[in-house]
Structure formats: C-alpha cells, structure tokens
C-alpha cells in the first residue's frame, strides 16, 4: 500500500517515513509543493499525509487537486497551525483527518489506518491479532469468537493497540488518544494504567493470551503471537 508524506521539514519527514515503513507501507516523500504535485499526478496513493505550510505553496491546493483526480485517496493534514478555521477548511476541502504538530507517530499511524479502513482499501474490515478481533464498523471486539464487553475507553484503547501492534506505545500518547485535550489532567497517566489493567484482565478472562506487555520505563506494547 502506497503512502505519500509531504513535509518540508526534513527531519520530521524522515521520522514519519521510518515509522510508516516499519509498519509495512510503501512510503514516498516530498519536501516541497512542486514535487508533491508531480508525485500525486504520476502515482496513485492510498493515503497522503500533507503539511499545509510548504515553502512554495499551500498544502490545501494539493488536497483539492487530489480530491478532483483521485477521489479515493485518504488525506491527513498535519499542520503547525492549531487554528480551528484551518481545521474546518481542511476538512471541508476534503481531508479525512487533521493532526496538529507535534503529534505522536503512533497516533498518526492509527489515524492512517482508520482512514484506510474507512476508504475500504485492502478490505481490512476486521483487525485481527491472534484470537483478538476488532470490528471497527460495529465498534465490537471478540476473543476467539466470544464477544468482549468493553467500556468505550477500553474499546478505543484496544483499537489503538491493535492498530499499533508490536510498537511501544507511551503512556502520554495513549492518554492523549483516549482523552484528547483532557490530557492536562494531572494523573491521567495512572488512569491509563487502570484502563490497561482492566483490558488485559478482560482479554485473559475471555480466554485470550496476555498480549499487552509493559515495556519498562517506556510504556506498553501489544505483541502479536
């Protein structure tokens, strides 16, 4: 699956590309408006990650031209501007999602997966890791065919883990994914722990293996068997 990253900041572009390559995507990159237009014109990408402020043009124009030519391409805007208006314009022009810099790579990854799923690429309607299955359309999860009774937050957490399987997820990124701007809550990191503990217990009780591991000092990892 081909993904294009349009980001003028070399170092950031490399990080994103490296993370997405590890995830198994065929990753292309462009550092300016012109080469980005060229690339989008000559290749068909499943998803394009685009920075709005490019040295020689506005990323919004790329979004527009993509929408005209490749309606199916998923588009995620990454921008240093947190302006609500920019967000609304971006989404109105046809982007699927909007992330404000700085963001967690794992979060970007989860969003890309969600966009691809919605755009029905690859037919990944069901996410499967071992006995654990997540059906994002129905917001349901099963372990070895048995439905799991999860709270809203636990389900989100599981989806985040499954989207980033075999990756170290930091407590900060999990907290931000689950509570968004409420992250400022002083001990949300402890709540993350509680949620993970509950999720772990529920999966194990339903007969699944213990997939969630604590990575010392860093966070958690959902390992596929």
């Amino acid at each position: 699956m081909k993904v294009l990253v349009i980001e003028d900041e070399e170092a950031l572009k490399e990080s994103i590309v490296a993370y997405l390559r590890q995830e198994g995507y065929l990753c292309d990159a462009a550092v300016d408006y012109k080469s980005a237009l060229l690339k989008t014109a000559s290749h068909h990408y499943a998803c394009v990650v685009v920075d709005l402020t490019l040295p020689d043009g506005n990323g919004l124009n790329i979004v527009r031209s993509l929408k005209e030519n490749y309606e199916n391409t998923g588009i995620i805007i990454i921008s240093a501007k947190n302006a609500l208006d920019d967000k609304i314009t971006g989404l109105e022009v046809g982007a699927d999602d909007y992330l404000t810099k700085p963001f967690h790579l794992s979060e970007l990854n989860a969003r890309i997966k969600s966009v691809l799923r919605r755009r029905n690429f690859n037919g990944h309607k069901v996410l499967r890791v071992g006995e654990v299955e997540v059906q994002p359309d129905a917001a349901e999860a099963t372990v070895a065919g048995k439905p799991l009774t999860l709270t809203r937050k636990e389900y989100d957490l599981l989806l985040y883990f499954v989207s980033n399987r075999n990756r170290v997820l930091t407590k900060e990124s999990i907290a931000e994914y689950l509570w968004g701007d409420h992250i400022e809550m002083l001990d949300s990191l402890d709540f993350v722990y509680t949620h993970i503990k509950n999720l772990r217990r529920k999966i194990v009780e339903a007969g699944g293996a213990d997939y969630i591991h604590t990575v010392y000092g860093l966070g958690y990892k959902f390992t596929s068997p």
């Binding site: 950031l12 993370y19 947190n82 810099k101 963001f103 509570w179 409420h182 809550m185 000092g217």
Partner: protein, 420 residues
C-alpha cells in the same frame, strides 16, 4: 467631582460671599444716610422751636414744623437732658403695630424754668424705602449670579470639550485593538500638549506591544516544528529492540518533558489567539448540552477518583459565543474541579440563566484567590499542572464580558462565571 461642577461651585460660593458682604454694607450705608438726613431735620426743627420760643415766648403748636409730634414736659432739674438722639417705637392704634421713630430730646429755659422737649420723626417711609431697595438689589444680584454661573458653566464646558473627548478615548482604548489612539486637535495649548504627549506615549506602547506580541507568536509557532521533530525521533528511538533499562528511563523522561513543552506551547498559542480575537465566528451555544457532554467524557476519570457529581441546577442556557471556546471554558473549569479535589470528594454543578458555578471539595488555597487566574500560577506546588487553565477561563470570560469569580468556604472551592 467634575472640574466643571467644581469651578461652578467655587464660583457660586465666592459670589455669595461677595454679594452678602456687598449687600450688608449697602444696607448699612443706606441706613447711615437716612439717619443723617432725619437727624438733620430734627436739628432744624429744634432750632425752629427754640427761635419760636424766643420770639413768642410760648410753646409752638404741636403741628408746626416737619416733626410729626412734639412732647413738652417739665424737666427734672436734677437730671437735665441737654440734647439726646435716640430710636424709639410708638404704638399706632391705626396700623396696630409699633412704628419706629427717631426722637430728639432737648431742654429749653422759658422764664427761667426748664422744659424738656422731645420731637419725633417717623422712620416709616425710610424703612419702606430701604426694604424695597434691598429687595430690588436682591433680585438684581440673584439674576446676576445665576447668569454668571450659567455663562461660566457653558464657557468652561466649551473650552474643556476636547479634554473630555480625549478622556473618553483613552478610557475606551485597549492595546490589543489594532488601531492607534487618535485624538481631536484642540486650540487650547495645554490640551493640545496633553494630546501630543498621550499620542506619542500610546504610540510607543502600542508598537512595543505589537513587537512583543509578534515575537511571542513567532516563537510559539516556530517551536512547534522542532518539538514535532524531537518528539518523533524519541518515539522512533523507543521502538529500538535492545534498549537497556537505563536508556529507556532517559528516553521516557525526555519524551515526557517534550510532551509537557508541547502542551504548554499549545495553551500559550491558544491564549494569544484569544487575545488577538481570532475566534470570530459566533453562534448560540447550548451550554447545558456541552456541559453534559463534557461530564460524560470525563465520567471515567471522575469515577476512578471516586468523585460524585451533583447537578444542582441545569437550566437551558444559550450563550452567544464561539463554540470551540465554550468547550475550552467548560473543559478547564471541570478539569480544575477534578484536579484540585481529593479522593472521594464531590463536584457540584449549577447552571442557571445568569451564572455557571462549579464547586468542588479540596484543600484550602494557599494564597490570594485573585492570583489563581494568573498564568503559571498553580494553587499547590506539588501538582504537575501548567497553571494555565484558569488563565484561559479568564481570557475567554473577558472576551465575552462574563465575570469569573472564585471563593473558598467550608472546605469547598467555588468557581462561578456570571453571564452578562
């Protein structure tokens, strides 16, 4: 007191004193003149009477001369009055009142025998004259006074008009507004000087303010990208397979710090954007609905801390504001109530058409409550919070003219926003 009122009052006061002194001395002088005149007439009468007695060797008729009455009686030889002027009152049965008279008493010898003469002259006519003169004077003075005060007031008002114009403009002047201060030119030298000083002063402050603001904005925006790079690199680094525990700890600390910085930066940018009034779009925001949404969103955090939420009142309230800012406002108020609570505490929410109150149990504040609304001020040093939440609340309230108030009593913090 306004300068106009003040000068008018002083003017009035001085005029009253001047008129009072002037009026009194005028009255005294008038009286002096009248007495002088009456006394002259009485002395003339006396001379006439004495010469009449010398010629005719008998007393004159009572009606003769100018005097109204002559009283003659035998003088007491032990107590002779040679000549004495005095005032007296004589009861008139016709007027049924005492009438003032001037009397002259003197002694004349006739055939070697002393007779005491008293001649009277009524002061009635003169008193009437005095009264009408004083009355006329009073009306003239009053008219003059009113006229002068009135004229003075309007002349002052006219000359001070530029001053008041300047004052009104400075009052409504805010730095964050983009326009520089523009004052009307005045022909009065002092006011013109004042305007020039004010204009150059605010001009300087304004440009300093703009520079500082631009600097802050640029710094905040430019920091975003390096932060994104550092954060992403650390995250990539974390995915490495063979990290030692020590390295992991270092990475985790770095990551935490970068995240904190990123959050801080985001909040600062938000504050600046509210100050710049960038949130222009407004709509009728259903506050009651937003409040319930936020509470649902925070439900798990609330229950994990064992807090109970009590909705004491929840009226339907629509506020005309930016919906994003309304969200941020509620979010920060609720976050605050959760953050500064203790395990098993309570949160009370009151939403009525004129106020929104969030009350929560918690430790007593350590210092002045007003400072809680300042940036980077946290109530308790131990808490790892940015201290920017309430500053945001205040900024948003200011933007829409609502008034945030904080109070603490009986172990309960109360943060209220009064709608206007």
């Amino acid at each position: 007191m306004r300068v106009l009122t003040k000068t008018s009052l002083y003017y009035l006061l001085v005029s009253l004193v001047v008129f009072a002194v002037g009026g009194t001395s005028f009255y005294l002088m008038l009286r002096e003149e009248i007495y002088d005149e009456v006394d002259d007439q009485l002395f003339t009468d006396k001379e006439n009477i004495i010469s009449y007695i010398r010629q005719h060797n008998r007393l004159p008729n009572v009606t003769s001369g100018i005097s109204e009455a002559i009283l003659v009686r035998d003088a007491d030889p032990d107590n002779l009055i040679m000549e004495q002027l005095s005032d007296t009152l004589i009861y008139s049965s016709y007027d049924e009142e005492d009438i003032p008279f001037r009397q002259l008493t003197f002694t004349v010898y006739r055939q070697g025998k002393p007779y005491e003469y008293t001649i009277f002259k009524s002061l009635m006519d003169f008193q009437d004259l005095t009264e009408s003169t004083v009355l006329a004077m009073f009306w003239i003075f009053l008219l003059l006074l009113v006229g002068l005060v009135y004229v003075n007031y309007y002349i002052n008002k006219y000359t001070w008009r530029h001053f008041y114009d300047t004052l009104a403009k400075i009052k409504s002047y805010t730095l964050s507004r983009q326009k520089p201060l523009e004052l009307q030119p005045s022909s009065t030298k002092e006011f013109e000087e004042l305007n020039q000083v004010l204009q150059s002063m605010t001009g300087k402050i304004h440009s300093d303010y703009l520079n500082l603001k631009e600097f802050t904005e640029n710094v905040s925006h430019e920091i975003q990208t390096p932060l994104a790079i550092v954060s992403s690199k650390v995250e990539l680094f974390m995915q490495s397979e063979n990290l030692t525990e020590e390295q992991a700890k270092l990475l985790s600390d770095m990551y935490g710090a970068v995240n904190r910085l990123a959050r801080l930066n985001k909040s600062l940018i938000l504050l600046t954007r509210i100050e710049n009034r960038e949130f222009k779009s407004k709509e009728q925001v259903p506050l009651h609905r937003l409040l319930q949404e936020q509470l649902t969103h925070l439900q798990d955090i609330i229950s994990m801390r064992g807090l109970t939420v009590e909705l004491e009142a929840l009226e339907e309230v629509y506020l005309y504001m930016n919906s994003g800012l309304a969200d941020i406002l509620l979010q920060n108020l609720l976050n605050n109530a959760i953050k500064h609570n203790h395990q098993g505490g309570s949160i009370k929410v009151i939403l009525t058409s004129h106020k929104l109150c969030i009350k929560n149990t918690g430790e007593a504040p350590q210092d002045q409550p007003e400072r809680l609304f300042n940036r980077f001020h946290t109530g308790h040093d131990t808490v790892e919070s940015l201290g920017i939440g309430l500053a945001l609340v205040k900024k948003i309230c200011n933007l829409y003219g609502h008034i945030p108030k904080y109070s603490f009593s009986a172990g309960e913090h109360s943060l209220c926003v009064y709608f206007t």
